[in-house]
Symmetry: C2
Subunit: 207 residues, 2 copies
DNA sequence: AGGTAATGCGAGCTATCGCTCGTATTATAT
DNA sequence: ATATAATACGAGCGATAGCTCGCATTACCT
């Protein structure tokens, strides 16, 4: 199988100057990924775009995979912020209303910088996906499952783990596919119908 | 954005000797993808593993992307053979029975050489996915939609295009995720429950 | 002010990649 | 048997990648 290059930062930048450098590197990586594609994201090019030398780059990151991982991380945090707050806000609502909101948020989340999201979705498998995406998924699973548990009286199933798997996978796939592969399906009107459909699908399954 | 390298074969091999060469190249590409990862699949390495010279490789393919595309093609044809026959066999059955079978087949299809499937799923975006995966999806969509049309009296929705999108996306995502990310969920028993759940999900949505 | 640590620099080494091209080998046709 | 086309070979070229290292610059401390 494939090897796994290191993705951890090297030196933890302490002064402010260096933090600016690190930011510039991550930002440059994101820009290149979006505007030039993964293959052009060489360490030399990243450093150039960031207005920083390769040497400095290697002081903070062991290679380009680590930079990409950092970008993924930042993006995931943006997404998780939205997801977390939505699931908190919805905790005490009945299933129908809650699911509808969750579906809407899933679509919203995929629309955070969708061009970056697309490139990352394509490239995540090639990077240290373990820590990043897996952690992201675990948290989503945990949050959703917690919701189901606290509303188990409204449900008809016993295996909440399985139910979580089915719901999260379904919602994520619908949002993902709609946003990334069917850009035209995204007039506000179309989003509304999609939310309706997905909600019916999931709610019908749950109760 | 990124450019798109050519993926069409060059010379159409006519003699038998050359067809053997082409086969060896494709087979070697698949083996390397599975056992060493996408990054190691250089043209030099592919030729080496195939027991063929680089020169010969470039007589038939313009580059490694084309080889990968060929592997994808072969794999997709394997899958589509299964999917097509299942959808034909199911054409006259009622929704419940048909969906159950389709879900089972989706899982089966994902279990055709799953290690190869995984690498391809990861790498398809980087290749000429247009012709390959898009064509595959179009056919799946068309086949499934045809089924829905001929059973529209059992359904309660009007927009069959949307329904197809929802069903195909959902079934594919559940099968894909279960097979690729949750290998342990795949005891025969677990597959059975998963099929049950997915069937309930989709059938409940359709009628 | 002077000293030390942190940060930044970038020419350039090595490795590897994609790919070509002149040549050798094998098949087919007559 | 000879000619012609098809196929195979692989050394090696130019490009580019990842990465290091010795040196320059800037910040911090007392």
């Amino acid at each position: 199988m494939a090897r796994k290059p290191p993705t951890k930062p090297r030196k933890h930048a302490s002064q402010e100057r260096s933090r600016a450098t690190v930011d510039a590197l991550i930002e440059a990586t994101a820009r290149i990924l979006v505007k030039e594609g993964f293959d052009k994201a060489s360490t030399n090019r990243i450093a150039e775009v960031a207005g920083v030398s390769v040497g400095s780059l290697y002081q903070y990151y062991p290679g380009k995979e680590a930079l990409v991982a950092a970008v993924i991380d930042r993006h995931n945090q943006d997404i998780m912020r939205v997801v977390r707050s939505a699931l908190a806000e919805v905790a005490s609502q009945p299933i129908e209303k809650a699911v509808r909101r969750i579906v809407a948020v899933a679509i919203e989340a995929h629309r955070i910088d969708p061009r970056l999201h697309r490139v990352l979705a394509e490239q995540i498998p090639r990077t240290g996906r373990l820590a990043n995406l897996e952690a992201f998924n675990r948290e989503t699973y945990a949050l959703f499952r917690a919701y189901l548990e606290s509303h188990s009286d409204e449900l008809r199933m016993t295996d909440l783990g399985l139910a979580t798997f089915v719901c999260v996978t379904t919602i994520e796939a619908l949002a993902h596919t709609a946003v990334l592969h069917n850009a035209q399906k995204l007039s506000d009107e179309a989003v509304k119908t999609l939310v309706d459909e997905a909600t019916r699908l999931v709610v019908g399954y749950l109760k």
